[in-house]
Symmetry: C2
């Protein structure tokens, strides 16, 4: 109601005062909040909110929009009642309007949809809890992220947003749209949902998110203020008015209606709101009446693809950040799982406690907020300064260790084991306790290090499965496997002794493992896990003797092959060429597909600029110096070795491409995918060449330039080399200009065969020739791409060397029709893999039986096409449940079909009284919201 | 009453929030006001006042001091009644306190006392007119000027200030004072006035005018804010509290009482006042109680010298700015005269008009404000950026041409001539009229150019004498003196034909005169002028013919002498050596004193830094590379020439030291001083050597290291080489460390003889050896002294060459006892020399008689020891008169005596009804003020 509707026959210029407050970038989020560390930038959000609120208060004609709840919530809790009441009044009157309303303005390329939904929920529910429904953001505002995902549009639509505005899109795309009056259109966010459920009105900002040239009135700007005192020098009123009207007319030429928006603000602006408002007041006073205008029609075009990749000029493709900081990207993905587990366990404890009161004191918001911050478009994107990236990781670490892991410990020890509702309450309300947990969560499992497991003779692994369906998972535990020991693994609930296997630790991470423990093997066993529950395994270590000889755990030996190698399980057979050391072919045994698959690790040399453009490769930008990458192996030969022995559970092939690039290819017994574990780093830069490392697969699949990538880990979009669906592309970067974000999967296919690669984190990927597919796994650069972060992307590890990163790709080779059901489920499992804490035997010896009886928190496991996306308890004590059909419309004949699930039998101890369908953000009842119809 | 008195047994820390707003420096005054031209700095004073007032309004515990009325008055007139009422309330409650209250914070080295008083009056009266007596500043605040003058202290005392605070003093002086607890003492500002009339409590700020390290909370600072949210990172409350208490204790050790002041603010700070106040609030909350303290005694020491020169570190003497921008310094001095004339004439018009109403609409405030701005410590000091120096000059030009000269024109034409009070009213209220004045004020008289006089065959010179006593002055008018013309000058009131002489134009300014007119001679005649009035002279030019041969004006010829030269008049004889080309000796004919006087022009090479210190010579700093200057004449020989002929009025000797350094030495008939006109520039810098040009006199006067310089053109202080009266000097710069400001005069003497040099503008000067005396007249530098202005002092003229500057020194050689009466009166005449506009004959032909009858506006001329410092009309329609005894206590046996003057007979048309004695600033009745007694 507070909107100015404008006049029908005039050009209506909507002045939108706003600030863009990065939740960390050049400074950490808290430094930005306070305005600390100001040698980097003064930017202090506390002052923005202080002064904006004050300036709104003194003049009822003033408006402001605010976006980032991570900042707003910090500020809010410092205000006294008087200020809070005033802010409520401003919100009620529509003068302070929240838009977007996420905890942060999340990245769209490197984020998982689960994390996006969570971070939006955190912000939106804060607004709803604080201000009620009147504060619900109607407009999504993604002005700064460097490219835009279709899934994001779909999510926004499902969250009830009426529209989306953003600023960054390909410069060619923008030019075309300006010409064709397509700066506003309808974006169809989903191929599976019924229209208009995922349709979203989308407006592209004329000036990114900045004011027109000459009208920035912030202390950060160099533009002159409106100088209107006739007795002083430099009076510029006429000039300013002329310039403004001219800018308005220029902008209006690109839009279909007689309403245009001017974004009056920018990064961390309005810390001195008076300066902005004073000059805007003067500007509006002097411009006071817009000019007659008639060009006005309302037929909106529709777009179904996305806005990747983003280039702001020739040769300047923002496709490097799809991979930048792979370690942080991996940790964010992992932390997402911890948050989900924390949510699940907090809910279980809540149900068992019988608590009906609100959970506002829950400490889990620390992790929730850390994850919210981590989704920011300079966080998981990898585009912050190094010290800020450290701060993001630290926040996640604190959230994981102080919240998620303690919740787990308290739940298992106090709430479940002791069976007392009273103690469950403790779990919920004070999971941050002093003292250490008796459960050990090892942080260095990725480099096969765990003090606890490698030094204990007897301990229990509590393996928790956060999926709502049962799974079997191979568990690998770092142990000391000197020949004198033998290992026994017993499933506690059945007493069954499990098959085990020992695998020697790879040399790839030796440089960072040094002197940090004596784990020299991984103990492998298969854990059968109940839906949404846990199973416990006792791991016992004995000194070997003649009497226990039959218990000896098989331990393979790594040898250099004398011939080509083939490893196989029930499903796949993978062949390696002894001469090249590379993967050569893959056979899908069931389907009979056998194709050559040539896999290699290579690197592009990051450009330091050339005659065509000064653009360098950097944290944002990917720009290879040449389209032809170099082999990671200096001589083109890869050192190949293989695990020999009985290997009852896993077969492994080892590839050493160089001192800093390793791979293990694995086939597990009974597991229908090929696991490729890559370890890359320290990327050498002594030659002064920045390097961007890729894993490339070359096959004979007739993919013909087409390939497929997921959007935020959910729906999949078709890509075509050197092509954009909505405009004729003038390609300036043959490699970087074909890169797309890969959050969970990328595949190529022809009429029959599909090669799918799933990832454990977000990466950039492409298909640059028919049958080929590549993923960038790591990058280290010495140049700077001049997009603001002002630091080379040159991550170093604990010992000052370049950072080593390890990750996994999972390969599926199958028919096109049977691929989706595999990659959908495998993707879900990869993303919600089991949590494996360990415990000493002592503390729960009292009453093991009671403990073991409780294994699953769910009554009926969910069918495979339904993912339990969210099981959480809200501040008001209600359960927030998100069930997701995880198959797209045409993914699979069977699994893509609708399916019915009973909420009644979902969670134990859960009696359904009322079910309300909410918007996706959880901040409003769905039936109370009428989105605008376009 | 609003002051916090503190507690007796505690250390009381007075937090003083303030901003320091330069009235032009890196940006012009209006750019600073608005925050324009922000590529240099954002600094916007409008926002400072906006946000400070707002922040004071919302919290009654907050205080702020404000200083510069040039800015405040701009801001005030833009505010609506509501804001003005709020500001009045804040002032009334003592929460917004004006201190100093001048139009600007004037420089103390290069300013004349007349201009200081005027600029203070302008500001103080504005405050009084706007807020009444409660706003009267009690404390003078000279935190930034680069050294401090005793005269300034005396003026402040006479203005009723209770105390003075400043920040810049010699670092050795400061160390000594800190140790001796002399950071606060009584400054005795005058040797002539009775104590304590010129005594002033003076406090030296611990941190200049900045906060203690770590406590600057402005956007300009890099210090962290107080971060007190326990849930955020980087909480620093304990650290900040500890640091603050430690800083307070450290500071307290230098002070005698248990009260210390912390200056919380700096240059252009508080543009976002919220940031400062929010953090100060937190700081005070957390520090909340100061620590027990006892060291407390109240015996103040007394100081009688001044704080020149200022050095902030070894080798860093701020003595360059005594001379920097000699052109601007000269124009400021000249404009002071125009302002006084404008004041005088406005008053005459006011009295004749019979107006009793207020003069708030008077346009003369434009000139008054321009002069106020020009006194700023980066204006007349020469330490602003070039574009700002241009702005200062432009403001003066506008003030002079649109106000002073138009006032003169209107007064003479409309008010006096037409005799109508109605028209006098016009003169007062709207002197800025469109169209040109019929009086011509030539701007280029300094280079002997005046289109009007050189092209007119008949015109009138209206010579106005702003002194309240009669004087006779030689007038020099540029004319075309080709042989075929003769000139006749007639004093109109008597019809007498005057003796005239033609003098050829010097070659020194040929490079800037080129193509700008055909004046090739100056026509010289002696004008007898009434006190505070004018005399008119008709100048007629005739073609020469046989019949008017007897009227031929003598025209000397410049020739190179074949022998030594002597020129003489009734009083002096000056000898020049033909070989050296230099002045050799001077004879005072009356007293019989004859001494060798060797005068030369030399230059110091400005240092670019050396091993001892990186300090370079710059706008602020004078640092010669060597103590031995170079001769301006390359070969040490000066080209000498002399004016030969009958020369009835003036004798001249010409010296060409080089292509860029010239001198004329003149003796006028009947005039008891030697005039030395120097013309310097363009100073060559192609050799990459910056040059600082001096005029040096060497005599046999046994001055023994002592010399004497004036303070702001008024009282004189004794100086001694390598010596400071209050501490043992460790001299690091043998030349620059002995330089002092010379505003009007410098002299050396022994028991009998005194050599006095008077200047036409402020310059630096010294006596570096017995009998020697030098003045720096011009400087051009290529380095930068790193004191903030960030530009080399490298002035260029209209044609891109280095600036040429011309000025005058007046020499007196006489007995010590008879010198003062000469230099006091000559100083007054130099400083208030006649104004000489010209007019065509046409427009006042109507009734010449009426016009000529009015010559003097004064009834009884003042005695010579009384100077009419101010004759002005206030906004409320009263006359503001300042009469000044211009002789110091022991200057002269006769003229130093008290003298009585009748106000009744002072000004014509002036009926005295009430006389009130005001404070020197004119802002309060003297008898209503009780200054604090120390």
């Amino acid at each position: 109601q507070s909107c100015n509707q404008g006049e029908a026959d005039k050009l209506n210029v909507h002045i939108v005062p706003h600030t863009h407050d990065d939740v960390g970038w050049l400074k950490t989020v808290d430094q930005y909040y306070y305005g600390a560390n100001s040698s980097i930038a003064w930017a202090g959000v506390q002052y923005i909110l202080d002064t904006v609120v004050q300036q709104l208060s003194v003049d009822p004609t003033r408006r402001f929009i605010y976006v980032e709840v991570a900042f707003f919530s910090r500020w809010w809790r410092e205000q006294n009642t008087e200020v809070q009441q005033e802010v409520k009044r401003l919100v009620q009157e529509g003068r302070l309007e929240f838009i977007l309303g996420g905890w942060s303005m999340n990245d769209e390329a490197a984020t998982h949809y689960n994390a996006i939904i969570d971070q939006m929920t955190l912000g939106l529910r804060f607004l709803n809890d604080t201000f009620g429904p009147c504060a619900r953001p109607r407009v999504a505002w993604q002005i700064d992220p460097f490219g835009h995902s279709r899934e994001q549009a779909s999510l926004f639509a499902q969250m009830g947003f009426d529209g989306l505005f953003f600023g960054r899109l390909d410069y060619q795309d923008k030019e075309t749209r300006e010409m064709k009056l397509k700066m506003e259109e309808i974006w169809r966010g989903s191929q599976s949902l019924h229209h208009p459920e995922a349709d979203l009105f989308t407006g592209l900002n004329e000036n990114g998110y900045n004011p027109p040239a000459g009208f920035c009135f912030d202390a950060y700007c160099k533009d002159d203020p409106i100088m209107d005192d006739p007795t002083l020098e430099d009076n510029n009123v006429k000039q300013k008015v002329d310039d403004f009207i001219s800018a308005a007319h220029k902008q209006a030429k690109h839009f279909r209606t007689n309403h245009i928006m001017m974004t009056m603000g920018s990064d961390f602006q309005y810390s001195n709101a008076k300066a902005w408002f004073k000059n805007l007041d003067k500007l509006m006073k002097y411009v006071n009446s817009a000019v007659r205008y008639k060009n006005c029609f309302f037929l909106w075009s529709v777009k179904s693809d996305d806005f990747f990749p983003y280039a702001d000029a020739p040769h300047q493709f923002w496709t490097g950040y799809f991979t930048s900081r792979p370690g942080l990207k991996g940790y964010v993905r992992e932390s997402n799982k911890y948050l989900q587990v924390c949510n699940q366990l907090e809910t279980v404890a809540h149900l068992r406690s019988g608590m009906k009161s609100n959970l506002r004191t829950s400490k889990s918001n620390v992790l929730r907020a850390a994850m919210g911050v981590a989704q920011h478009h300079d966080a998981v994107s990898g585009t912050s300064k190094q010290h800020v990236a450290n701060d993001y990781a630290k926040r996640l670490y604190i959230g994981n260790h102080r919240v998620a892991f303690k919740t787990f410990y308290n739940l298992v020890k106090n709430c479940l084991f002791l069976q007392g509702g009273r103690h469950c309450k403790d779990v919920i309300s004070s999971v941050i306790t002093e003292g250490s947990s008796n459960l050990t969560f090892c942080d260095y499992m990725n480099i096969t290090l765990c003090d606890f497991t490698q030094n204990s003779n007897r301990f229990t692994a509590v393996v928790y499965n956060p999926l709502a369906r049962a799974v079997s998972k191979y568990i690998r535990i770092p142990v000391d496997c000197t020949p004198s020991y033998i290992f026994v693994v017993i499933e506690l609930v059945t007493g069954a002794r499990l098959t085990t296997q020992l695998v020697p630790v790879s040399e790839a991470t030796e440089s960072v493992r040094r002197n940090r423990g004596n784990a020299n093997c991984e103990l492998v066993f298969l854990a059968k896990l109940p839906a949404l529950g846990y199973n416990s395994f006792s791991i016992e270590k004995y000194k070997s003797s003649a009497t226990n000889k039959r218990l000896f755990t098989p331990k393979g030996k790594v040898v250099n092959p004398s011939d080509d190698i083939t490893i196989s399980n029930e499903f796949y057979s993978v062949n390696f060429n002894r001469n090249s050391g590379l993967m050569d072919s893959i056979v899908n045994i069931e389907s009979g597909i056998k194709i050559p698959v040539h896999q290699d690790m290579l690197w592009y040399n990051g450009s330091m600029g050339n005659n065509a453009s000064k653009q360098q490769s950097g944290a944002y930008i990917f720009r290879p110096n040449s389209s032809t990458p170099f082999h990671c192996s200096n001589d083109g030969k890869v050192k190949l070795s293989v695990l020999t022995g009985s290997n009852p559970l896993v077969q492994e092939v080892y590839q050493k491409f160089s001192d800093w690039a390793y791979q293990v290819v694995r086939l597990y017994k009974g597991i229908k995918h090929i696991e490729v574990e890559w370890t890359v780093g320290p990327i050498p830069v002594k030659d002064q060449w920045g390097k961007e490392v890729i894993s490339r697969y070359e096959t004979n699949i007739d993919s013909n330039g087409y390939f497929y990538t997921d959007a935020n880990g959910r729906e999949v979009l078709e890509r075509k080399k050197n092509y954009r669906p909505t405009w004729k592309l003038n390609q300036t970067e043959p490699v970087a200009g074909n890169y797309y974000p890969v959050n969970s999967r990328i595949y190529i296919r022809d009429a029959h065969v599909q090669l799918t690669v799933l990832t454990d984190r977000s990466q950039g990927g492409s298909s640059l020739s028919s049958g080929a597919l590549e993923l960038m796994v790591h990058r280290r650069l010495l140049g700077e791409d001049s997009k603001g972060v002002a630091e080379p992307l040159n991550e170093t590890g604990q010992f000052g060397d370049g950072l080593i990163t390890r990750g996994k790709h999972w390969l599926l080779l199958d028919t096109v029709t049977s691929s989706a059901k595999q990659h959908r489920l495998l993707g879900e499992e990869a993303f919600m893999s089991p949590l494996v804490p360990h415990q000493a035997d002592s503390w729960f010896n009292l009453d093991l039986a009671l403990f073991f009886l409780i294994q699953s928190f769910i009554v009926n496991p969910l069918p495979p096409n339904i993912h339990l996306l969210t099981l959480a308890t809200t501040n008001s004590g209600e359960l927030l449940v998100r069930l997701e059909h995880q198959f797209a419309k045409h993914d699979d004949d069977v699994l893509s079909q609708p399916v019915t699930v009973s909420l009644k039998g979902l969670i134990k101890n859960f009696e359904v009284k009322i079910v309300d369908e909410l918007l996706l953000g959880g901040n409003a009842l769905k039936n109370t919201i009428n989105r605008l119809q376009w």
